[in-house]
Symmetry: C2
Subunit: 464 residues, 2 copies
């Protein structure tokens, strides 16, 4: 394969990435708005993601509901009084609040629906918006988060919830596989006075600047919320018992992080599996040569038969470089330029957006080549996401090292005990950043703090 004469630089700052999302037509950023304005190209990706979720989640017997966004204020008051003060940033209006997340809108309805053990398990999910003010503008922290996905399940026993939390994990993994986004999965330390769950798992992605960002959560709530909202049932011993519950959530952040990880100074690079348009065909035909037109028709027909979305650009008023850089900016995986040259040579050049390599194909062999290239682009980009992810993590046995690792915009990884004294102790000694949490391993290591044997690995990062 040959390569176009293009340099690739992947050193894109957050600000540059935000500008790229706007210039490529995914979103519009507007000062007067409290959230992101999604444009057709971005929504095409989001709607496809929503379709994927609406197929995926019911496979776990979790069914879609829609609960209103406006919630009676007294349900927020309940949380504030009985768990801790959730008030911060909540939009209040007349006697209602705008849902900061689903609990206060969903659990009062759970109480209304669940009467006996035959109403359990109740497993719901919702795709909706959530609201909190006080965030600065930026794509990862907005006052209004749209397309927020959350699941809530209520069960008759602790054991069922433990099983459900494993199911939630499988579900979250499927979502991350959809995007090809690797994450650090940890159990969060929950050593506050009034924890919101008995166990809590976080899924953090690593951003190109080395910061980590939570992309999904999974909570083994048990009875923490069901006691507050009086969600309960009459069990087999005719006793009233509060339901045992789990919840999970994720937003469109995985898509945003993925796009940032993959982009270069020429624009987006989309996974073919996510790209609304997989192939751009640029017609170079100033003389309206019918041979060129008919070759293009032929190729369009082939792409249609292969069920590959394409765009046909016949706007000869603009220069070729302007036209091709538009599709580079949008991250369209393959570009084809067709003009008199292709008629003469009998060969069609297919240009990869991801690495600017190109391949020449005869018309007969076109189907094979285009399919092969799309598969290769998909595989190469997914592999690069894995490599970037591994490169960002630096293992260390010394807590003094951690600050250097963080300063080099990396994430530190180490053996540590899953207990308060070691984790809080480490945090106090490093100062900068935060312990994400820990994950249980097969093999033992020595705790970075107390030097005792431990089977837990911990991660330390700067969080967004």
């Amino acid at each position: 394969m040959k390569k176009e004469n293009k340099q690739i630089s992947k050193n894109i700052s957050k600000k540059e990435f935000e500008n790229l999302l706007v210039s490529s037509g995914l979103i519009h950023i507007f000062k007067g708005a409290k959230g992101i304005i999604w444009k057709p190209y971005g929504l095409a990706m989001m709607n496809r993601y929503m379709c994927f979720l609406r197929k995926l989640i019911p496979k776990f017997s979790i069914e879609e509901y829609f609960f209103p966004l406006l919630v009676d204020k007294r349900y927020l008051d309940k949380l504030n009084n009985e768990i801790y003060n959730f008030d911060k940033g909540v939009y209040k209006t007349v006697d209602t609040v705008l849902r900061p997340s689903g609990e206060i809108s969903i659990y009062p309805v759970f109480k209304d629906i669940i009467k006996s053990v035959s109403d359990l398990p109740l497993k719901v999910f919702q795709i909706s918006s959530s609201f909190r003010y006080g965030y600065k503008a930026g794509i990862f922290r907005t006052n209004e988060v749209d397309f927020f996905v959350e699941g809530h399940t209520a069960h008759a026993s602790r054991e069922e919830v433990e099983m459900q939390v494993k199911d939630n994990d499988l579900l979250i993994n499927q979502v991350l596989v959809y995007f090809g986004l690797p994450v650090i999965k940890t159990e969060r330390p929950l050593w506050t006075n009034k924890p919101v769950a008995e166990k809590s798992y976080g899924y953090d992605a690593i951003l190109p600047n080395g910061e980590t960002l939570l992309v999904a959560s999974n909570y083994e709530q048990m009875q923490v919320f069901s006691k507050v909202f009086n969600v309960g049932f009459i069990d087999k011993y005719k006793q009233y018992t509060n339901t045992f519950q789990s919840s999970f959530g994720f937003s469109f952040r995985p898509l945003m992080i993925l796009l940032w990880q993959l982009c270069d100074q020429h624009g987006l690079r989309l996974l073919p599996s996510l790209a609304p348009i997989k192939v751009s065909i640029i017609e170079i035909n100033p003389d309206n040569d019918i041979n060129v037109a008919s070759l293009i028709d032929n190729i369009k027909q082939k792409l249609q038969n292969l069920n590959i979305n394409f765009i046909h650009d016949n706007n000869s008023k603009l220069s070729l470089s302007k036209r091709s850089s538009k599709y580079e900016l949008q991250g369209v995986p393959i570009r084809i330029e067709i003009g008199k040259k292709e008629i003469d040579s009998g060969f069609i050049k297919l240009m990869r957006r991801d690495n600017f390599l190109f391949e020449e194909s005869s018309l007969d062999n076109f189907n094979n080549v285009v399919n092969k290239l799309l598969n290769n682009i998909e595989a190469d980009l997914r592999a690069s996401l894995q490599n970037i992810f591994l490169d960002f993590q630096v293992y260390t046995g010394s807590s003094l090292d951690i600050i250097n690792i963080l300063k080099k915009n990396k994430v530190a990884k180490f053996s540590i005990c899953f207990n308060r004294s070691c984790i809080d102790g480490l945090q106090a000694s490093v100062g900068l950043g935060e312990v994400l949490g820990t994950s249980e391993q097969v093999n033992n290591g020595k705790c970075i703090v107390c030097k005792k044997n431990t089977k837990y690995i911990g991660w330390y990062s700067r969080r967004v």
Copy 2:
């Protein structure tokens, strides 16, 4: 065809209909919520409707955008100061308001995006929520309206808007055809001091109680809003000009009205084209006869091959009548009961939900019969909607008659001039209800008020 021994009564009050929506599992009504809670069975219909819209609307070159729900308060203030007071019922919180409808969230972005004539036309639609407090509980008037669809288009000339309004009308008609819902389409009288459009068209359905309800709107706005929000462009004479605009909107009301029109005292009756489940198979097999099981497998395979969604109910613990009345309640178009009797006879009974007629089919002929019945149910229910619609309208030449027509829960139809004196005059003399608007006809009639010749027909109704 034979008929099950069932009576059909279609005299269902609004309250009974609301209870039916809850008992059939479409929605849940909960006092603590400001909108409707959609359950999986209802959402399955809504999601399908959304998919239909996302295919339909782009065919009119109107692309989907998502604008945030929270809007800077100063944009509402602009409307209040420059058109009229839109404040009523608007939820306000900190420095933002919750969108009462799209104008204040969309037009400031239009101003930001549109610079020159090359940015026009800009045609967007959004599926979103809108909010106003002060409504009583009930499915047709809620404080929060989710799944609200609205389109907004900006153009360089008046003529383009006139064309666009015709396109909007075609689009709205396609939506109403999807539901099979006939409407009264009228031009609204707009004789206030500060109208929100130059022309406005309303699409009103007739409810089973004879009231009318607006289900869609189409506005020839021209420059009314673009002047307020300073949306403009540099035209070909290098002059700054405000854009010429149109807008349209509709919610899920057509679905609700359709369901109310079609239901009977046994439950819902769904159009097969809208039904999430088209066939219920009830297995009557207390002895676990493998012949019964294999016949059911055979039929399931046939339905799968025909791409017909079905549910297989093998819950033999409940009585047959309980099981079958559940699917009647849910409005599943066809019910099949399979047990030893069907093995012995070799015939399968397919029962229509809409009229309780049933047909017996051999296994060989099953595909033909099930397809034919689904088509017949679809056609018969759609025809009944048209008949009901026509029956509700009573033509009259005398304004004294109108009050009697309204008291009989009907809608009055008459010739009238499309001018303020005749329409306001009629309204003053009748007192009850309202003139919906008028529609231009081919033939002349005599105005019900001034008795002069007119080519306009008007409608008079009690509105919800």
